[in-house]
């Protein structure tokens, strides 16, 4: 697999200022445990007559996808690959409530059409008139990595030249209520919509290179530790969220390592949800581009590591303590 795979552009909608890097210097700090995403200004990105039929997650998706494309060298991607843990949750909830109230005879067609997981990826394809490869991965907390792995391996093997990869999840008040009852330890729950253009072409615009993507099911900690080395994995970005069930596997892994990496976190800034790891990818790409680390991302440290050049960042994510992912980003 001789081809390289670069991050050409990336855009986010979250509880931080949407379609912006402002969080890097002045992040929004929340005291509430559940915060919805800040809605992007759709003007110039979505035709108003089309926007009226779109739910929040679809508007956020189109805004990040079009912004990522506008900021990239690519106008028509070879593939559109999307990850989502829960799909169009708000529409699904409305549809199910209607189903229970009105039965099967009297259901709204728009909610029916726009409550499936692959609505997201297909809507981007319709807007871009992109007839290429289109796929959706719905694998809980590693949905984004599954999409990125698909794009990465197809670019590395020469099957496609570039792809629009994204991960999108909304967290409704009802979902928050359920999580509050089942996982009350969470520090911040929010929503995520991230779109990125990945390409095989070297360009000054590229933020970084994706040198490795791995998905591992029920690995031993020693197997995970064997994948990491101090030269390439000196900075590790983890999905710590303040819940001991979630954090313990990360802490165990760190204890297993034979060296002391600089540990970064991101869920304290962006919150947690099934697409949160896409925000880790976004934050790491921006760190690589700007060559600085926001102090809020430091874990168990008060000052940023004294590093002349950030050559690589490794993102480690786990879902339910069973499935792990590793994404290694390198400076270009």
């Amino acid at each position: 697999m001789a081809n390289h795979c670069y991050v050409n552009s990336i855009a986010q909608v979250s509880c931080q200022k949407p379609l912006s890097d402002e969080w890097f210097d002045s992040p929004c700090i929340y005291e509430d445990k559940y915060v919805r995403a800040q809605e992007p200004d759709t003007k110039g990105l979505i035709v108003p007559s089309e926007a009226r039929r779109m739910s929040k997650i679809l508007k956020r998706t189109v805004c990040t996808a079009i912004t990522a494309l506008n900021e990239s060298d690519i106008k028509q991607p070879d593939a559109i690959i999307t990850g989502t843990g829960m799909g169009c949750m708000e529409n699904s909830e409305k549809f199910l409530i209607d189903l229970s109230r009105f039965g099967e005879q009297c259901l709204k067609p728009t909610l029916f059409m726009q409550s499936t997981h692959n609505t997201i990826s297909s809507l981007i394809a319709i807007i871009l008139k992109c007839h290429g490869y289109n796929n959706t991965y719905s694998h809980k907390g590693i949905s984004f990595e599954s999409s990125l792995f698909d794009a990465w391996i197809q670019i590395k093997s020469g099957m496609i030249r570039n792809a629009l990869v994204g991960a999108h999840d909304e967290v409704t008040p009802f979902m928050d209520l359920v999580m509050e009852r089942t996982h009350p330890e969470y520090s911040l729950v929010s929503e995520a919509s991230v779109s990125t253009i990945v390409t095989n072409t070297r360009s000054d615009r590229n933020l970084c290179e994706i040198s490795d993507v791995r998905l591992l099911h029920r690995p031993e900690y020693s197997d995970l530790a064997a994948l990491l080395n101090p030269e390439e994995d000196g900075i590790i970005l983890l999905g710590l969220n303040g819940n001991s069930l979630n954090d313990e596997p990360y802490e165990k892994l760190v204890r297993t390592l034979s060296y002391n990496p600089h540990i970064l976190q991101y869920k304290n800034i962006f919150g947690d949800n099934f697409s949160a790891s896409a925000l880790a990818f976004y934050a790491a790409s921006k760190i690589m581009q700007r060559q600085e680390i926001p102090s809020l991302m430091l874990w168990n440290a008060e000052v940023a590591p004294d590093i002349d050049e950030i050559k690589s960042i490794t993102i480690l994510n786990q879902s339910d303590g069973t499935t792990w992912s590793l994404i290694r980003l390198k400076k270009v």
């Binding site: 007559s49 009226r52 259901l107 709204k108 067609p109």
Partner: protein
Amino acid sequence: MDNLILQLKNQIIEVLNLEDMTPEDIDAEAPLFGDGLGLDSIDALELIVLLEREYGIKLSNPAEGKQIFKSIASIADYVSKNRKK
């Protein structure tokens, strides 16, 4: 009839997410499809569901639809004559 027209305008704004519109912006006699409000076939399905849910009207003959959904006024006229709730 005026009250029914106003009620229908409000229901259509809500069901079709015409967020930037008020009842005053909609001419009761103007065409709903094509020109006028510029609604499409999915909106037509939403209107059929609206009539069934709110007024108990089941449109069994699709050919009737074109005439009924010509304008807000024509919907109001049909609803006033056929409503079951």
